[in-house]
Amino acid sequence: MKVTKEDIANVAVLSRLSVSEAEADKYMGQMDKILTYMDNLSQLDTESVKPTTYALPMQNVFREDVVRESLDREAALANAPLREDGYFKVPKVLEG
């Protein structure tokens, strides 16, 4: 197996997902099959090939830094799961 149980556990933490025992086996099998297929890429010599992140030529876009109207606070908070006094509310992060 290319993908181990430990890999699944590590990736789950990175992904902020919890994976049950039964799911871990299923994911391991599926990811193993997918990644094994993807090993066909190793047939290619890419030593001198440059990576492409965007297909078309891109350059940084500059604009004047001007003050413009932005989203109203009420509108920005309207979809919040929990809010209080104009803030997003989350479970306590710091103790004490």
């Binding site: 990736v11 599926q30 997918i34 290619l44 492409t52 297909a55 604009r63 979809n79 479970p91």
Partner: protein, 489 residues
């Protein structure tokens, strides 16, 4: 013949000539929606009241003698990953079940300036991840041509609505084939523009270097007009192209004499359905009759495109979907601390395929595997792109099937994700290269399922692929066929 059966350009003329009213048209399409929706289930949200109000406003304008724009008063549907101010945008995910965007996507602003009638938001694979619309967290959509089959995906709701007559036109998005493949499965025209041709601002991000919004339509003329409306630079999307936008509708002529058409041998290989090959080759032979030149070409890295795509897209998705953390918008599942809350939210509210792609993406990006998978895929992406660059030195357009098979059965591909990924063999390579492609109906399988011809163009040369598709369309009448579901005759 009912009004819902006609393409937008015909309806536009009828509205302008005052033969019909926008309210009559909208009521007819809504009636069709009511007749078909129980079986097809293309929609997630129907905005019936605002649709009728929009139609009435257009009728007032026509009555007062004002001229109307192409799309004015013509009812259409929007894929549910395009932000619509004041109307729920769920991405077919539980995590955005009640999300109402406080702003419009740029394409919506451009559309609304034309005053079309917006019928609602249509179904898709959750976060556009899938090729069958079965990954919707709400319900699958059924292919109007064969209800036990999928409409394709991820823009399956868009394609099914246009095919069923419950919309005249629709917008979709295409990251690895998500406009073209459902267009092929449902017998409609679907156009994926060049990366950057259409602003992605307000399109919920899946894989940002691949995503592109485009139209699904009854025929090529409608697709060209829709592209006219949505194309162009947008300062809100720094990857959008500043190249001038030609008039795509003006470019539609029947002249393909001397057009050089490349047939990539790698797209006509193992796993292709016999009916698909026969039908697509018959369509291509029409071009020969019209004076085009057919050349066999090779795109040698095609076999590596699936691997490349299914590393890059999940890697980008894993990053893009980090934002769904239960804090600022979307749903939340409580937990005893912040990390537990985020973990519970994501675990319980993302569907299985979305979780799988996030896991694969983070695996490919993680220490120890980054070079072997992610970086390798970026390098092979260069090779895939170079194949096209070489090919386009010899040919003007490339033609191939859109999908290796006609629509498959619901449930048929669900057990094995890899098998479903392999279905994308004809569509993903051009997303990797950023090129435009369209699917135009070219006939039926022996079971009566629609088949699409894919036409791929040079970067920013949508005009040529639209012209090629238009010329073919004039030789037959597949685009006039409506799916024969209940209430059709």
């Amino acid at each position: 013949m009912r009004l819902y059966e006609k393409p937008a350009h015909v309806l536009h003329d009828m509205l302008a000539q005052k033969e019909i009213t926008a309210a009559e048209l909208t009521r007819d399409v809504l009636a069709r929606l009511d007749e078909t929706e129980g079986q097809v289930q293309a929609y997630l949200t129907v905005t019936r009241e605002s649709a009728l109000a929009q139609a009435e406003a257009v009728d007032k304008k026509i009555a007062s003698g004002e001229e109307i724009s192409f799309l004015e008063g013509i009812p259409g549907a929007i894929k549910d990953n395009i932000c619509t101010k004041g109307t729920k945008t769920t991405c077919a995910s539980k995590i955005l079940e009640h999300f109402v965007p406080p702003y419009d996507a740029t394409v919506m602003e451009k559309l609304r300036a034309q005053q079309p009638v917006i019928l609602g938001k249509v179904n898709m694979d959750e976060f556009a991840m899938g090729g069958s619309t079965e990954n919707s967290a709400y319900h699958p959509t059924h292919n109007p041509w064969a209800l036990e089959r999928v409409p394709g995906g991820s823009s399956g709701g868009s394609a099914a609505a246009v095919a069923a007559g419950s919309a005249i036109w629709a917008l979709g998005s295409d990251t690895g084939g998500s406009i073209r493949q459902p267009a092929s499965f449902c017998g409609v025209v679907g156009l994926k523009p060049t990366y950057g041709r259409v602003s992605r601002y307000g399109l919920v991000a899946y894989a940002s270097s691949l995503d592109q919004i485009g139209p699904l339509a009854r025929d090529v003329t409608d697709a060209a007009h829709l592209l006219n409306i949505i194309a162009g630079h947008d300062e809100m999307d720094s990857t959008s192209s500043t190249a001038p936008v030609p008039d795509y509708a003006q470019a539609l002529t029947e002249d393909v004499k001397g057009l050089k058409i490349g047939l990539p041998k790698e797209y006509f290989t193992e796993g292709m359905d016999g009916d698909v090959e026969k039908t697509v080759r018959a369509a291509i032979s029409k071009y020969k009759d019209m004076g085009a030149e057919i050349l066999e070409i090779s795109l040698p890295h095609t076999a590596y495109a699936i691997s490349t795509y299914y590393l890059i897209a999940p890697a980008e998705a894993a990053t893009n979907l980090e934002r769904y953390d239960g804090v600022s918008y979307g749903e939340r599942v409580d937990g005893e601390d912040l990390v537990q809350m985020m973990t519970n939210t994501r675990t319980q509210l993302f569907g299985e395929e979305v979780r799988r792609r996030i896991m694969i993406g983070n695996y490919a990006l993680s220490a120890g595997y980054y070079d072997a998978y992610y970086l390798k895929a970026l390098k092979v992406r260069t090779l895939v792109q170079q194949d096209y660059t070489e090919a386009f030195k010899q040919v003007d357009v490339i033609m191939a099937p859109t999908a290796p098979t006609p629509a498959f059965r619901l449930g048929e591909m669900m057990a094995d994700p890899l098998q479903l990924y392999l279905q994308d063999v004809c569509t993903v390579p051009l997303n990797l290269a950023g090129l435009p492609g369209l699917s135009v109906p070219c006939g039926y399988s022996s079971k009566g399922l629609p088949i699409g011809l894919q036409i791929i163009g040079k970067a920013l040369d949508e005009a040529t692929i639209l012209r090629a598709a238009y010329a073919y369309e004039q030789t037959q009448s597949f685009h006039n066929d409506m799916a024969r579901i209940g209430g059709n005759d």
